[in-house]
């Protein structure tokens, strides 16, 4: 007995020593890392350096281009907020953003004749013209969406105009813009039947297009068709929508979309590099509800929420560059930090992001502002009250994610007890009959009966202890 105890003590001491040593090592490691990036100024201000010269680059297989993993999306250039030039692009700011980006290693700029009311190419061209042509790669697109521009002449005119707007004599990366929208019919109309794609292949041959690819949204048949003819077209790259929600849950966001896992996998099979768009899912991955945010912050306290999405998009080796439309210097700086160099997501982190995606989709909060325009409901439902309670619970994390969730019981109780407290039973969501007299009053465009039924189903699941 005594011996056992002694043994136990020694074990504990040993254990503590190991832990202590580990702590010292990790502190030292952290110290190294922090010294590079963070300093406390003499004024006592926390300052995080934006590293230059540490950007991660990937190679384009067909040309050997070294492309920065962070690409600049030029569809959100800053505009003047007011004054006589209100709404026009703020060229001065654009120049400084481009300068800063180049200085910190970004060399891929993605624009289109359609962006910024058609002004993006020119503004991007002006800003880049101030730098040597061999320091950056320009990607632009053949954005002949409107059927008036489907003719060969109109399409070629658009193509040639891009050269003038960008003030270049060759384009590094040219994309068929948004194939898949409009299905096979639009693909035929825009590129195949009018011979435009054949023309572009010739242009690549001639060296005026260094790489030819396409950006894909929508009908997966078009994606599959274009890849099945890879032998003929020899795609240098393909642009797809990829983020930790679209990876496995694209259909839940938009029924027309296809999981990025599939798209990326198809490209990998053929060795085609992927350019990533929508890494933040239209900004939805830049911020989360409180408890999802807390979970990410617990893992990386000082990293921004957006950085998780960028790291996710940059992690697959077959990704050439991740596009981000950076309007503000702060976003640019944060993204440069994320990619200088990229720290790929570990398996645990990938799991965490998948869980985050699931939770996010399961409990999208409702954009009710409580304006009461929908009230009074003729059947007595307290519409804003129900939405307020639901959003509050989502924000506080009192929404269990499943029966196995360790705080299931606590969250269930908080949700149900709180529900009865905030909304009298007769005014709860289960009394919504779906007459839809409310929805057209809603300035947020909420489909109120649909949301009521969703909340009602959720409450039923909780009450019945069903898997949610």
């Amino acid at each position: 007995m005594k011996k056992d105890k002694l043994q136990h003590n020694i074990d504990r001491r040993k254990f503590l020593q190991t832990i202590g040593a580990g702590a010292i090592v990790s502190t030292a490691l952290m110290g190294c890392k922090e010294r590079k990036r963070v300093k406390i100024t003499p004024e006592g201000i926390y300052k995080e350096d934006v590293p230059s010269g540490q950007m991660t680059y990937r190679r384009t297989p067909t040309s050997g281009d070294s492309v920065s993993l962070l690409g600049y999306g030029c569809m959100r250039w800053p505009t003047y907020p007011d004054g006589e030039k209100k709404g026009e692009l703020d060229q001065e700011t654009i120049n400084s953003l481009v300068d800063y980006a180049l200085e910190h290693g970004i060399n891929y700029f993605d624009t289109s004749p359609a962006y910024c009311k058609g002004e993006s190419e020119r503004a991007t061209g002006i800003a880049l013209k101030r730098h040597p042509r061999n320091q950056y790669y320009i990607a632009t697109k053949l954005s002949n969406f409107s059927p008036d521009t489907w003719s060969r002449e109109a399409s070629l005119a658009m193509y040639h105009k891009s050269f003038r707007e960008l003030q270049v004599d060759y384009i590094d990366y040219l994309l068929l813009h948004g194939v898949g929208m409009g299905g096979m019919q639009a693909l035929h109309g825009r590129y195949l039947d009018n011979g435009v794609l054949d023309f572009l292949l010739q242009e690549r041959q001639a060296g005026r297009i260094r790489h030819l690819g396409f950006s894909y949204h929508g009908d997966v048949e078009v994606f599959d068709y274009l890849l099945s003819h890879h032998d003929r077209y020899k795609w240098d790259f393909v642009q797809i929508q990829l983020n930790y929600v679209d990876w496995l849950h694209a259909k839940e966001v938009n029924t027309r979309n296809t999981n990025a896992e599939y798209l990326y996998g198809e490209l990998q099979k053929r060795g085609i590099p992927a350019v990533i768009m929508e890494p933040l899912l239209g900004g939805r991955l830049a911020s989360h509800t409180q408890h999802l945010m807390a979970r990410l912050k617990e893992n990386r306290p000082t990293a921004s929420i957006a950085s998780w999405a960028f790291r996710f998009a940059g992690t697959p080796e077959g990704v050439l560059t991740v596009l981000s439309g950076m309007t503000y210097m702060e976003h640019l700086q944060d993204n440069i930090r994320t990619f200088s160099p990229l720290e790929p997501c570990s398996n645990e982190e990938l799991e965490l992001l998948e869980k985050t995606a699931q939770d996010m989709l399961r409990y999208p909060s409702i954009s009710c502002t409580g304006c009461q325009y929908c009230m009074p409901c003729p059947y007595g439902i307290d519409i804003p009250g129900i939405f307020r309670h639901y959003n509050k619970c989502i924000n506080e994390g009192n929404v269990p994610s499943g029966l196995q969730d360790e705080n299931y019981e606590k969250a269930r109780r908080a949700f149900l007890v709180g529900y009865d407290r905030s909304v009298p039973r007769l005014r709860q969501a289960n009394h919504c009959i779906g007459c839809n007299q409310c929805s057209h009053h809603c300035p947020q465009g909420i489909n109120i009966p649909q949301q009521m039924q969703r909340i009602d189903r959720f409450v039923e699941d909780l009450k019945q202890g069903r898997e949610i």
């Binding site: 059947y379 919504c432 007459c435 839809n436």
Partner: protein, 491 residues
Amino acid sequence: MLRKIRIFFATLFLVGITILFLDFTGVTHAWLGWMAKVQLLPAILSMNVAVITFLLLLTLIFGRLYCSIICPLGIFQDIWAWSGRKVKKNRYKYSPAKNYLRYTLLALFIIAMIAGIGQVIALLAPYSTYGRMVNNLFSPLYNVINNVLAYGAERAESYAFYTTDVWIKSIFSLLLSVATFAILAVLAWRNGRTYCNTICPVGSLLGFVARFSLLRPTINTDKCNGCRRCERNCKASCIDIDSHTIDYSRCVACMDCIDNCRQGAITYKMRRHKNRVVEDVKTDTQRRDFLTVSALIATTPLVNAQGKVDGGLAIIEEKKIPTRTTRIVPPGAMSIRNYEQHCIACQLCVSACPNGVLRPSQQLATLLQPEASYERGYCRPECVKCSQVCPTGAIKPITTEDKSAIQVGHAVWIKENCVTLTDGVACDNCARHCPSAAIQMISSDSNNPQAPLIPAIDTERCIGCGACENLCPARPFSAIYVEGHLNHRTI
């Protein structure tokens, strides 16, 4: 010492059973449910041989200990008798047994059980009487206190307490309980166990058995000095010092006399000479028959429990109870017949029902026996609490899986009330909430594709849970209501 042990167990049982009836959260049922199941009448009705045997043996060995430590109504009376003795000492005196009255009532009771006259049983059964008092008198008080705590908890952002509805489930039941409470309190205060020894059928039955009990308080005539302290403090009035005898059919083995005797002349000991072996009293467990008398007592409107109404909220009219041809009894009851044969109206299921569905019947024929109605809530799929607590087998234990297939009634659509036609709005709330998908929306006019959709009920799939009736927007009468079934079916 023996008296202290008796008081200890009595307190345990009284508190336990009271909590059982007060607890609306259902947490304690798992721990205390057995206390209801060891009550004699529930055990007889549920044919619980183990409990019946145990109680008979207990009585054969120890006398009417059951009346002193297990029966909540007996303990309840003891409290009043004790208070009465505090005010005036030595207040009782020996009285001869009113055997004619006792056994007549016992006989009547047995006849009532055989004939299935539920009202008589509900009124006389001691455990039911106590249950009703707690349910009608103490429970509202308990709930109000709970609600005050919940109010505090809400402000403290705590979810420890939640608000529960306080409502009068039956005005008759309430008045009856007030009367019972008053009568029993006065009787017990003045004369101790009068009720137990003259009226209570369980007391009479056990009294008959206790005549032959093995252990009993015995007066040692050598030591007795005839001071009559024991006699004047015997709440059962069963000690006759003149003849130095104790009427063991009335003695509830409370052990007060042993403690009171300063001479040490009374001891609790084995009977001296063994009489003939007591033949087992034939307990009549024959089921009661179904009684069909359908006299109506005017249904009492429920008290409005709806909270305040803000300017932005439409006023919600109170729902009214539809007059059902056949009443609805909970799943697990098997049939109205089985239910009425077994239910002793103790109201334990009413206490346990978290959905405001069960309440005592107001009808003369089924007086006080709980029945279901759906204005306040409906019989939710995840809940089988009533079946778990029922001590008499009136509601047999079922699982939620069983429940999903037990048809206790079927829904009936009333075209004239349906808002799709009266208000001209789209509504499918009944169809959407039907747990057995027995309702589908169909066109009200097959020639007109724009015609409003109305519910069509598949009565074969309907289980009668009342979700449709409860959630129907039509008020005060729902456009869809549940009609009970005489025999429950598994579908």
